[in-house]
């Protein structure tokens, strides 16, 4: 089943053979088998393995991960899909669509998934691998409930489809979310939106300094993957770096951390020339907003600010705000209203959660994960249990 291009999507040919009103039981055997098979196909395909993000998706679909997600949900046996769910994936992340598709499918829905318009090779390969499985007669029912489409920005057919859909999942920035929220929908339509979020890293300076050399070196690599790999432009990429500890430790930890990162950057990272200019313009916007000159440290492609007044301003392309705290709870006062992920280094996520949420405090974030895991999509995302929202639970009592 090839990707449906904008023209045929508008014409509506894709509806032939598509089971618009069908749903399935939550995580039914056939769906689990299909996802297991998909995981195997991806993880054994030579080309697929060369894309780290596709491999990550392959692991996401494997049995152990699904079983854990299903077990996390109450009454999986009395859950069913809602019907057809439309997924709007971001245009600049190759595989976000695939994660969204799996969530919709596992919850028991039929899925129309809007792909990025840019032809990323991972996107195309992933769809090809899905298609390869769907020709198997065993998976025919899934094929009848799956469409990968590309549409124009203001597609009338897409708006019409959303007006009739049982569910809508929108990944994207605030503007995209506003646009789709404003569209007419069925009164009972289930909607999940993922608007712009911001994220931070928390380094326990003493904990970091105590790490074995190899582990400390790896942590720089993990931080690089969380940030520079996606131009620091993903919702989960840290823009604030909290340094926890006393001044002596923090000074030493900063020096080691940034110099370890610098050696990766100088060997592997080349900033997009337009992004390089944008970084200057971002700083210009910051100084205009704050109304005075800022103290800025520039080394390689890392630009570091230390003024809490830039909190809330967009930092990207390797620009970080560094804040020193002596107690973990001081982090709370600097978290932004749309703070999503806190990655941790030199301290465990469990420990951070325990200390932030002690005495009934609200921790102010949706995710606490170790450095390096910032971008790993999970079934629980942005504080939302997506499988729960995308399935209907029958009350039996």
């Amino acid at each position: 089943m090839p990707i449906i291009d904008p023209k045929s999507f508008e014409a509506g040919h894709w509806r032939t053979g598509f089971d618009f009103n069908a749903a399935a039981a939550f995580a039914d055997d056939n769906i689990q088998q299909f996802l297991n098979a998909l995981s195997r196909v991806i993880l054994t395909d030579k080309e697929a393995r060369s894309h780290p993000d596709l491999a990550t998706f392959g692991y996401f679909c494997r049995k152990a991960n699904l079983v854990r997600a299903i077990a996390d949900l109450p009454s999986a046996a009395s859950r069913f899909g809602w019907g057809t769910v439309v997924h709007i994936a971001p245009g600049n992340i190759p595989l976000n669509f695939a994660f969204s598709f799996v969530m919709g499918l596992l919850a028991g829905n039929s899925n129309v998934v809007r792909l990025p318009s840019r032809p990323f090779s991972q996107t195309m390969l992933c769809v090809r691998l899905v298609d390869r499985l769907l020709v198997d007669p065993v998976f025919k029912p899934i094929g009848r409930r799956t469409r990968f489409v590309q549409t124009d920005r203001d597609s009338a057919a897409l708006n019409g489809l959303i007006a009739k859909a049982a569910g809508l999942v929108v990944w994207g920035g605030d503007a995209t979310v506003q646009r789709f929220r404003a569209l007419p929908k069925c009164p009972r339509c289930v909607e999940v939106y993922f608007p712009d979020r911001v994220s931070s890293l928390l380094v326990d300076a003493a904990g970091y300094l105590a790490l074995p050399e190899e582990e400390a070196r790896l942590s720089a690599r993990r931080f690089f993957n969380d940030t520079f790999l996606v131009d620091q432009n993903a919702c989960s990429s840290p823009t604030t770096v909290f340094w926890l500890g006393d001044n002596v430790d923090i000074t030493r930890a900063k020096e080691q951390f940034w110099s370890r990162l610098a050696s990766i950057l100088s060997a592997e990272y080349v900033i997009d020339p337009m992004a390089r200019i944008n970084r200057n313009l971002d700083i210009f916007r910051d100084v205009i907003t704050v109304g005075r000159a800022l103290s800025l440290t520039t080394e390689h492609d890392v630009w570091r600010l230390d003024d809490p007044e830039v909190l809330g301003l967009p930092l990207r392309f390797g620009t970080f705000l560094e804040l020193s705290v002596t107690h973990m709870t001081q982090v709370l006062r600097y978290l932004r209203p749309n703070e999503q992920t806190l990655t941790t280094l030199g301290v465990t996520p469990e420990d951070v959660f325990r200390r932030l949420a002690a005495d009934g405090r609200i921790p102010g974030i949706n995710r606490i994960v170790p450095v390096g895991n910032a971008l790993d999509i999970a079934f629980n995302w942005d504080g939302k249990e997506v499988l729960s929202i995308l399935s209907c639970r029958v009350q039996v009592s």
């Binding site: 971001p90 245009g91 600049n92 131009d231 997009d272 944008n278 800022l294 800025l296």
Partner: protein, 337 residues
């Protein structure tokens, strides 16, 4: 790189630091306060897009004489605040650069544009600014295009008839001269008698990118259709109106006595030597009312020493190769397209 205008630019940097708070805060954030300014490369510069994103003005509001805007094909447009002094300097430098290339006599001007481009005050754009700016060098003016950008040959013929025997000054944006003038003449299989004319065109080749028109090809078609062989391109921008880089008879774009240029690495923004390709930074000494005297453009190209050109003009040569492509940024912020 030593430059005859370095001291003027250092003085301008000081002037704008004192007069434009935003500029001062930006410079203080990104540049060491007392670092020596020994060459053009040491001067603080602004990305030219800063004028699209921010209001930057070094004079009191009541002294703003006019606001110039860039042609905003995509999104935001630059807003350039001009006071009387800067406006006069723009006129003076433009007149001098023009006179050096074409002589001081005023000629009848054939504008390859429509009258509506300059009439509609709400559409004040780079094209309006350019047409009006160069009109000062003209004794009479005729718009060759109708409002729908189609060539009105009878009107042009009448104008040429009226000024029979005089040297005609043809002016237009490069893409309009190519498409709406040369293109229309070719399509209608017509020729005009403009042997005794000179053409000045600018605004960039970007809109002709898909047609892959070279400067020699441009000149050849112009000569074939009109007989005009004195064809000069210029490089300039509304953010530095006045101090244009004029093409010499040898085909090089030279800086004027009030301007200079260098090239920076596209990733690191470190200054590059002559002949190396990077982002073009342009300098101009006449920006008193806004901090636009050192601007990093989004144009890719290189610079050469003046004496690499046999024409004898002392100004640094720029060679413009194209525009920096839009960033293909990863991440998930507002990426619905």
């Amino acid at each position: 790189m030593t430059s005859p205008i370095l001291n003027d630019l250092i003085a301008l940097t000081e002037h704008h630091r004192a007069a434009c708070k935003r500029y001062a805060h930006y410079c203080d954030t990104l540049y060491q306060k007392d670092s020596p300014l020994g060459s053009l490369a040491d001067l603080p510069f602004l990305p030219v897009r800063a004028f699209k994103d921010f209001d930057l003005c070094s004079v009191a509001e009541e002294d703003v004489f006019k606001v110039m805007m860039s042609s905003g094909t995509f999104g935001a447009r630059s807003r350039i605040y001009i006071d009387r002094e800067t406006a006069q300097l723009q006129t003076r430098t433009l007149t001098a650069i023009f006179g050096e290339a074409f002589g001081k006599t005023r000629s009848p001007m054939l504008v390859i544009d429509s009258e509506s481009t300059v009439r509609d005050r709400n559409r004040f754009s780079a094209r309006t600014a350019a047409v009006n700016g160069f009109s000062m060098m003209a004794s009479d003016r005729c718009f060759a295009l109708d409002n729908d950008m189609s060539l009105n040959i009878p009107r042009v013929a009448e104008f040429l008839q009226e000024h029979n025997g005089k040297r005609i000054f043809i002016f237009g944006f490069t893409f309009l001269v190519w498409q709406a003038f040369c293109g229309a003449l070719r399509a209608k299989n017509q020729k005009l008698a403009l042997k005794n004319a000179f053409l000045l065109h600018g605004g960039g080749w970007k809109k002709l990118e898909s047609e892959k028109v070279s400067n020699p090809q441009f000149k050849a078609v112009m000569a074939d259709r009109t007989g005009c062989v004195d064809v000069r391109n210029y490089y300039g921008m509304v953010e530095q109106a006045g101090t244009i880089f004029m093409e010499c008879p040898q085909g090089s774009l030279h800086a004027s006595a009030w301007s200079d240029a260098l090239v920076r690495d596209i990733h690191t923004h470190k200054a590059l030597p002559y002949g190396k390709v990077g982002l073009i930074e342009v300098f101009s000494t006449i920006q008193k009312s806004y901090p636009g005297h050192a601007l990093l453009t989004e144009d890719i190209g290189l610079t050469r020493r003046a004496f690499d050109c046999p024409c004898g003009h002392p100004g640094t040569i720029v060679e413009v190769h194209g525009r920096l492509p839009a960033a293909e940024v990863r991440g998930c912020s507002d990426a619905y397209n």
